[in-house]
């Protein structure tokens, strides 16, 4: 049965869980093992983060080879800094901060980025009356695609859409919506304010939604 639009006036997503995450007991134990040269502990960390690190590195650099180099370099930086790590953030945040620094010094992403505007461009004045009401309301499409959103072709398209975003939007949406990091973690990793992070996230989501609407309704 189609969901009523009234049922959709749901509550905001609660992102507060984990916001004050610092080193948990498990991470403290893991850290101890890492400092003692426990390769199993290191392997578990690699299993957990390496491919995500490549994904994050690709938001900075232009090629897969460079992203792998940055990720490897990050691991080296991480093991060298193990003794200095004070547990003020999670291990993942620590690793990602190292990665962001390395990636920035590796070089500017030498690639074309499509000039994507903010919501002003994605949903420009033509969509609203002077009074601010919809002229061109959103076309319903989600009910038709719910079961198709996991299809490889759709995932591939979403990946490509993320690629087209300007770098800062791509970084925020990758960390928040693809990898599920919390607001404070993302702000700390990228060195941006919460307000700035929200603006970048808003622009990215607005643009991706618009592209999906256009593509799905054209299916």
């Amino acid at each position: 049965m189609t969901q009523s639009w009234r049922d959709r006036a749901e509550r905001p997503i609660d992102f507060s869980a984990g916001e004050t995450r610092s080193t948990s007991r498990d991470e403290a134990e893991l850290l101890g093992r890492l400092r003692n040269g426990d390769t199993t502990a290191f392997g578990s960390l690699v299993d957990r983060y390496h491919t995500q690190m490549i994904q994050f590195a690709l938001t900075f650099v232009s090629s897969r080879a460079l992203a792998e180099e940055v990720a490897q370099d990050t691991w080296l930086g991480f093991v060298r800094s193990l003794d200095r790590f004070e547990g003020r953030c999670s291990l993942q945040t620590w690793i990602y901060k190292i990665l962001a620094n390395r990636a920035r010094t590796t070089g500017v992403r030498a690639r074309r980025t499509v000039a994507v505007g903010g919501p002003e461009l994605a949903l420009g004045s033509k969509y609203f009356t002077e009074g601010g009401s919809w002229v061109v309301p959103p076309v319903p499409w989600t009910d038709e695609v719910d079961d198709r959103l996991s299809a490889p072709i759709v995932i591939k398209r979403i990946r490509a859409l993320i690629e087209e975003l300007p770098e800062s939007q791509r970084q925020v949406v990758t960390l928040r919506d693809v990898q599920g990091l919390s607001k404070p973690e993302v702000c700390e990793i990228l060195g941006i304010s919460e307000g700035n992070q929200r603006v970048l996230l808003h622009r990215a989501r607005t643009w991706i939604r618009k592209q999906l609407e256009e593509e799905v309704t054209g299916w």
Binding site: W5, R8, T39, F128, L149, V173
Partner: protein, 86 residues
């Protein structure tokens, strides 16, 4: 009188669309959130829009990183061992 007061405080669709991320991120004040939700209850289009943004977030969340190459894993563990030995 009350109606006029309410109207002045109501938000319009363009504002609701601009505020959607603030709403989903829990960044609106209690009063603004109440106005936003009141608008959603009255506006089918904005309710649909918020639903689409939520669907977009879910869809983006389905993008997975690649699987870890065993050879790369072994190389990294080798790097760690060398650092330990070094």
């Amino acid at each position: 009188m009350r109606r006029i007061w309410r109207r002045r405080r109501d938000i319009v669709c363009r504002e609701a669309v601009a505020l959607v991320t603030d709403y989903l991120e829990g960044a609106l004040s209690r009063a603004d959130r109440a106005r936003f939700e009141a608008h959603l209850r009255d506006c089918e289009h904005c309710s649909e829009y918020v639903h689409q943004i939520r669907t977009t977030i879910q869809a983006v969340g389905r993008v997975e990183p690649e699987t870890l190459d065993l050879e790369v894993r072994n190389e990294l563990i080798g790097l760690y061992r060398r650092w330990q030995a070094g």
